[in-house]
Amino acid sequence: MLKEYDGRVRLVFKDFPLPYHDLAMSAHEAARCAGVQNRYWPYHDRLFEHQPKFERPELIGYAIELGLDRERFTRCLDDHLQRPAVQASVAEGRALGVTNTPTFFVNGSPLIGAQPVDAFRDAINEALQRSTR
C-alpha cells in the first residue's frame, strides 16, 4: 500500500497489547528492544509471522535470528526498559477511544477491525482529495 501511493502515505504503528493476551506486552516490549538496535520492522514482521509464540526464549530466539546483540536485547527485555513506551502508546489509544485491534486512523478518520485493502484505498483516496480542496 505504501509503495502503491509512493511517498504520499506513511504508516505509524502504535502498540496496543490487549490485557487478555498474556504474552502481548512482552512481545511489544521485545519489538522496541529490537528497534533500539535498529531492527524494529524486521522484528515486528517476525512477530506477526510467528504469533502467538511469544515466550521469552522465543522472543530471544527471534532476536538472535535477526543478528541482534543477545545480551543487550535480553537485558532490555528482562529489565522492561521499553514498557513505559508501550504503556504510553496504550494510553494514547485509550484516549482516542480505541478498545480493540486493529484500529486505524486515516488522517483522523477511524477504520476499525481488519479491513479489505479496498477500504484503505477508499479512505486514502478520500483523504488525498480533501487535502487538495
Binding site: 501511493y5 504503528f13 502504535k14 502498540d15 502481548a24 511489544h28 482516542l96 486512523f105 483523504a127 480542496r133
Partner: protein, 45 residues
Amino acid sequence: MLAVSILAVTVAAAEPAQPRVTIEAMLTKGPETATVTIVEFSDFQ
C-alpha cells in the same frame, strides 16, 4: 529516540480532527512529508 508530537489542527470544517498521537520515527514507515498518515493501533498476539 526521535519523537514528534502532532497536535490537533483544524484545517477545514469537513476535515476530521487528527488524532493526537506521538509519532516515533522507529515505528514509522514512509516520509514525514506524506499527505496521508495512517495510525495503526495493533496487538501482536
